[in-house]
Symmetry: D2
Amino acid sequence: MNDEDRQALAERSASAMFAADRASQALGMRLISVAPGECEMRMRVRPDMLNGLASCHGGIIFALADSAFAFACNSEGVPTVSAAAHIDHLAGAGEGDELSATARRLWQGGRSGLYEVVVADQGGRLIALFRGRSHRRNPAPSPQLDTK
Amino acid sequence: MNDEDRQALAERSASAMFAADRASQALGMRLISVAPGECEMRMRVRPDMLNGLASCHGGIIFALADSAFAFACNSEGVPTVSAAAHIDHLAGAGEGDELSATARRLWQGGRSGLYEVVVADQGGRLIALFRGRSHRRNPAPSPQLDTK
Amino acid sequence: MNDEDRQALAERSASAMFAADRASQALGMRLISVAPGECEMRMRVRPDMLNGLASCHGGIIFALADSAFAFACNSEGVPTVSAAAHIDHLAGAGEGDELSATARRLWQGGRSGLYEVVVADQGGRLIALFRGRSHRRNPAPSPQLDTK
Amino acid sequence: MNDEDRQALAERSASAMFAADRASQALGMRLISVAPGECEMRMRVRPDMLNGLASCHGGIIFALADSAFAFACNSEGVPTVSAAAHIDHLAGAGEGDELSATARRLWQGGRSGLYEVVVADQGGRLIALFRGRSHRRNPAPSPQLDTK
C-alpha cells in the first residue's frame, strides 16, 4: 500500500470503529484526526465527570487517552487491543476544560506495539502522559508477503 | 486512634467523598465496603460502556479501579490524590457483567503510597490488575505527634 | 505432569539456567529456592554496587528482582523472556545489606504472564516492589492436549 | 542562572557524581554528555553481563538507563532520587554490543519529575524504552526566589 492508501485505510477504520464505540461517544469524545499509528481525540470535561475533589476523575482522563491509543493502534487494519497501560497524572483538569489526547506509535515489533499519548488542556498545559502496550489479536502478515 | 475510630473515620470519609463524586455515580459504581487502606467498589457494565469491539472500554474498567484506589487512599482523613497508575488487562468484560474492584494498600512511606487493585467479574475471573501510586497533598502528621 | 514432576522440572530448569547465567553470578546472586511460577534469589550489596549517594544502585536492585522473575517464569520448561517491568523503590539499601527477591506468578494467559517480585533486606524491610510481564517465545501447548 | 551557568553546573554535578558512582564504573559505563535535564551514557556488553540465553541481562540494560536517568535528574544541583521506573524491552543485545542510553526530561512539577530514556545499540536499533519518575529530596527553591 502507498501512503495515500494507508491514510484512507486509517480514516475508514477509525470512522467505522468510532460509530460502534458507544463508550467514547457517551463520554462526549470527538475524533479529531487519524493517520497510520496516530490519532487525536478531544473531550470537554462535563459536571458528571468530576470526582469528589471537583477535578476530572482520573479514570475519565485515562479513558480519553485510551481511546486515542485504541484508534491509533487500529489504524492499519489489524485488530489490536490494549494489553497494558501506564498513566502519570501531571495536573488536574476542571469542569469545562477541553482536553486533547494525541497518540503516536513509538515502536511495533511482531504482535506488540508501544504508544505514547499526551493529554493536554485547551491552553496546552500537560495534564497526563499515557503509555500503552498494544497486542495484535492475530499475527501480523509476515513482511515477506506484504509485497503488493 | 484505636481501630474502631479508624474504621469509623474510613466510613465517614468514604460516604462524604462518594456523595460528592459525580463521576463514580454517573458510571453506576457502588461503594461496597471501606476500611483503613482498603475499599471495594462494584459496577455493572452498561451498553454505553462498550467499545467498538463490544467489550467494556478499558478506560471504564480503569475508572472503576481508580475509584476503589481513591477511596482506599483517602480512608484515613489525609487528602490524597493519584500520582500514577498502571493497569494490565487480563480479560475482556461484556455487557451485563458485574465487576468488582478491590483495593488494598501495599505500602505507605511519607507522602507516597502504593495500592493494588484487583478487578474481577461476577464469576471471580480476573479482568485487570491495577497498581496505583498515591500522593498526600499535605505532609502526613509525624508519628510522634499523633498521640491524641 | 503431577506436582512432584513439576517441582523437579522447576529445579532442573533453574539449575541449568543459573549455571549459564554469568550476569547473575557476577553480581553474586544466589538461587535460594524455586517452584513452578516462583523463585527466591538473594544478593549481598557489595561496595562496587553503590551509586554516588552510597546507596545500592537502583539498576542492581532491579537486576536482582529481574533474575528472580526470569527464573520463576522459566520454571515450567517453556522458554520465556521479560517483555516489560515496573519497579517502585521504597527504601534504599546500603553496603553489606543482604537483599532477597521473592517472585511469584499472579497470572498466566496464553503467552503472557504477570509476576510480582518483593525485594526486602535482611530485617524484612521492603526495599522495592517489582512487577514483570513475561512473554513465552513459542505458543504454550494448548490446554486440550495437556491431558497426561 | 543563565544557560551557560546551568550547563557548567550540569557538567560539574555529573563529574562529581560519576567519580563517586562505583556501580556505574564497575559496569563499564561512560558518561558521554550531560546538559540540564539530559544525559547520555554508553556501555559495552561484556561476557559477564550475559544471562542464560546469551543475551545481555535485562537488569544490566535497566542499570544503564537508570544511570542516564539519575545523571539527567541530578543535573541542576538539587539532590534527586528515582521513585519508580518502567522498562519495555524491545530487542535483545549481545556480547560486544555498544549500548547508548539517552535521557531527557519530559516534565517537572514541584518535587516530582518524569524522564524518558531511549536505549539503542551501535546500529541505532531500539533495545529498550525506559520511563523514570524522579523525586527531589528537598523542596525545590520556589521560582520567585530564583531571581539571580
